[in-house]
């Protein structure tokens, strides 16, 4: 069936492709980190689709932040745990 608007998946693929030149000019190690960020954003595709923001890339950025912050929280918890054990 035809679509009037591209799906969130399509938009993410487009955005990723649009960043191709940016990605290409990064050092290889940074390229892999960028890919990681997009993988993180992928996890919240359905939320981004549901939000139907005019600028979907904003939702993708938030999704990346979300995953990053989750990681920060997780690391903080484990550092605190380690400190307690040390004391």
């Amino acid at each position: 069936m035809g679509r009037t608007l591209p799906s969130a998946t399509q938009i993410m693929q487009q955005d990723e492709a649009a960043l191709g030149r940016f990605r290409r000019a990064l050092r290889r190690s940074d390229q892999l980190v960028l890919d990681d960020l997009f993988n993180a954003a992928q996890k919240h595709l359905s939320a981004a689709a549901y939000a139907a923001n005019i600028l979907p890339f904003e939702s993708f950025l938030l999704s990346m932040l979300l995953e990053e912050h989750k990681e920060v929280l997780r690391l903080r918890e484990s550092v605190e745990g380690l400190q307690k054990r040390h004391d």
Partner: protein, 745 residues
Amino acid sequence: MIEFDGWLLDLFEDEKEGVVLYFIDRKGPRWRLTTPFPVTFYAQGSSEQLRALWRYLRALPEITDIHRTQRMDVFRRQWVPVLAARVQNPVALQPLIQNVVSRFPDLEYSDADISITVRFAAQTGATPMSYCHVVADEETRELKEIEMLEDAWVMTPQPIPFHILHLSPSGDPNHGRPRYLRVSYGKRENRYLLSDMQNVLICLRATLKRVDPDLIVTDWGDTWLLPLLIEKSKEHHIPLRLNRDTGRDILLKKELTYFSYGQIIYRGQQVHLFGRCHLDRKNAMLWSDYDLDGTIESCRVTSLPLQVAARVSPGTGISSIEMLTALREQVLVPYQKQQAEFFKPASDLFSADQGGIVYQPLIGLHRNVGMVDFTSMYPAVMVYFNLSPETILPDGTGGTPVPALGITIDNSQEGLVPKALRPLLEKRIALKKRLAMQKIWYPPDRKRIEHRASALKWLLVVCFGYLGYKNARFGRIEAHQAVTAYGREAMMQAKEAAEDMGCEVIQMYVDGLWVHHPNWSQPADLEPLLLEIQERTGLPIALDGVYRWIVFVGSRGNKSRPVANRYFGVFQDGSIKVRGIDARRRDATPFVKETQLHLLELLARHDDPFDGLPQAVKYLRTQIRKLRSGKVPLPDLLVKQRLGRKLEAYRTLSPAARAAFQLKSVGKEPRPGQRVAFLFTRGRPGVHAWDLPEKPDPGSVDLARYETLLIRAAGIVLETFGLDEKDLTRLMRTDLKQLKIPLLK
């Protein structure tokens, strides 16, 4: 008939004789020959206008032929009908053209302002300084035949048996009146006191007569010595035959200040001679890089006369090579170029209007870093991808598309610019290879090859700029953009090749990459990478060297912010390379530079730079002690800064401007673009201009200020190893207090 083999020393236009040529015969004699040399210019436009021009020209006595013909117009990409007019004597061309242009302003003129040496080279193949076989009439001394025996592209040209006369005053005349004049020829050297001008003139006249030099090489000859000699020779009625060609005046070109690439440039006055050449080592472009061999090389390939080649920027040389190629290919050389950019959407500017790739380096110390760079990248791109004003297809259809730009390249035939540059590029690569093979032993001609290679290098460096300069004869902005686009693409491919092979890319800078691989430490380890990059990009790339270690320094304002081109490092063979720090800066004081460089040398002596740290600190202490005890000679403390504007235009006075005002008060006003040398002094005005007549008082020198400069420069080098400016200041102060050395008088 006269027949000989020799070198074309000089040629110039003459009102009566057409062109006058001076030759050095390999058997010894010097020849003055002449030849009539009619020159042709072209006009294109509407038929009525051309007919009117034809009627006008027909009546002029200096025109000997007018006819219709066809010539290639590279900007229209086709052969066009033109009116060709032949002027009997080249001297008559300039006034005639000015007259014609004002009468018929709507026509387009070509080949109207090409220098006589370029025309002569296009017609006969003989460029100045080239070795040729010459036949001339014995009676009239008219040139009958000239045949090139060695063209500009010969790898090992025969040395020219010049008679060279050196004239140099005992010191810098801007600083104080020199005491004597050193006159040397071969192994003989005489000194004449300048207080007795009459004696100087008489002796010099005799020397000129006896030696009959081909070259007069001077120090400050343009700006001081020759004008002084000419003036005094009139005053004392002792004629000096500086020119070999009698009955001609010396050509004096006035001083000039101009603006180029964001810099104010000052060019001093020039003195040109006829029949022999005058080179002023202090007023020659890049003399330190070129020397005489480089100047001759640039003269041969550009067909500029020696006296001009020594003094102009390489850009003029590139223009000249392009014009020479155009004349040979029957391509019109536009007189006043009128050509606009193609129309294009503003969004195109984002992708097109970019320079080369410049990365942000990873700041700090890196070990085992290989540096590879594309050999003459932009010229190579122009030659290999055929980029020239006429090969750019505007509509983007057909041809080879340029990466990331909406234009395509017509590859059906070689463009004018690639054609002009190809031999230059090939010769440079060949000379570079020869030098690379000679790395281990040092034959006596190594320096000479280096000078020649460097002359070619500078020509190639600027040729890219000339492609993009709207007013350059064969410039077209789209071609320029295509060059950088191909350059960026090649760098990306090189980066990818390196990363595919497991390297970390530390830095990329326009045409060079710094890469680190855990298992690579010797030049041979990088061979596969070079081959891979060459394979992917199609461009020649070479290894600059493998750094045992290299440090990329942060910005002066913010140490954690990377700067593209500020680094120092040590190659595997122990040689040091430095960019962007005091040791390389022309305005830094010699004492600071010397100290910074020696600190580096001390670190470079060890496999691990940290092992050199104690010695470095010790050395810095001795240098500071030397400074504080007043043992540093004043010339080593001189700062030389360039004046950026006219004195009236300064609102807040920089130290250089204050020094310039001091000079103005004694009647020596420096021009914008000139460098002013001064010392920092205590109290007001804080500086003492070096070229003031009164000597500076050594006690007034602001030693504390120099100390700050010195520690700052040391900090740049030592910071990465854990000692920054603050640490060093603390360290040096405590140390000196303990030693009880008196602080300043």
